[in-house]
């Protein structure tokens, strides 16, 4: 995976914050437009690909934001599944009385 540069990291941080708040701004969309999806961490690649093609008309902003939240949630759930399926064995400490 490509290294996440500080610029990409800062743009994606703002994107994540806006998505969890449910308020996606034109400025963040424009900033994401300049990012190559392949340079982003895996769970965000599909979010970025979707953003690059999505409509930006104001009356659909709420709907497309919901779609992005749904995509992000799905990608994170997939990541969690992958981690669980490839988890190292847990080395439990001895139980204390």
């Amino acid at each position: 995976m490509a290294t996440v540069t500080p610029t990409i990291e800062s743009v994606l941080s703002v994107l994540l914050m806006e998505l969890v708040r449910g308020e996606l701004t034109d400025e963040t969309i424009a900033a994401v437009d300049r990012i190559n999806a392949d340079d982003a961490p895996e769970p965000l690649k599909e979010v970025i690909r979707f953003m690059h093609g999505m409509t930006t008309v104001p009356y659909l902003r709420y709907s497309v934001t919901s779609m992005l939240i749904r995509i992000l949630g799905g990608e994170l759930a997939e990541m969690a599944d992958f981690r669980d399926q490839n988890a190292p064995p847990i080395e439990y400490p001895p139980l204390e009385d």
């Binding site: 969309i29 690059h52 093609g53 999505m54 659909l60």
Partner: protein
């Protein structure tokens, strides 16, 4: 005399067979959609699923933002729909409809529209190639993430792009 007549009959029969063969080849090679159609049917038969071809009356084009950012994927996806229609439609309870199109190279592309309430009007949301264009990955993604199931579009659907009816 008799054997000469027999020979000419055989010759005529051979010529007729060749002519019929040539006509058949001309017809089949003149229909490029025949192979694609056969492939779609074969896919449906082998996967045990029912694929429904749907294509509205409108010719679509990508939305302004898609053209500005990564036009080619959007153009390819819309072009795929315009040429081949949707072979599979998946929708959810929120009015999100995914019109899946299979391109000539086998890649599956997605034209996403959102229904306005219960009307026949749909807003164009996106057109791109999710999940690397892999059908099984796209279906899994739409079922689990988008909560989609197999859907259908009304025959009189009107698709609005950036607020305009094309």
């Amino acid at each position: 005399m008799k054997s000469e007549r027999g020979q000419s009959t055989v010759l005529y029969a051979i010529i007729i067979v060749f002519v019929l063969g040539a006509v058949f080849m001309a017809i089949t090679t003149g229909l490029p959609g025949m192979k694609a159609g056969a492939d779609t049917i074969a896919d449906a038969v082998t996967s045990g699923e029912t694929y429904v071809m749907w294509k509205g009356a409108q010719t679509l084009y990508p939305n302004r933002h898609a053209i500005k950012v990564h036009g080619q994927d959007a153009y390819d996806s819309v072009d795929c729909y315009n040429r081949n229609g949707a072979f599979y439609i998946m929708s959810n309870a929120y009015g999100d409809f995914n019109l899946l199109c299979r391109d000539d190279n086998g890649s599956v592309r997605d034209v996403i529209v959102k229904r306005r309430g219960n009307s026949n009007v749909f807003d164009f949301i996106n057109a791109y190639t999710p999940k690397g264009g892999n059908l099984s990955r796209i279906k899994y993604w739409l079922e689990n993430t988008w909560k989609c199931t197999q859907g259908s579009m009304p025959n009189d659907a009107v698709i609005v792009i950036d607020g305009v009816i094309p």
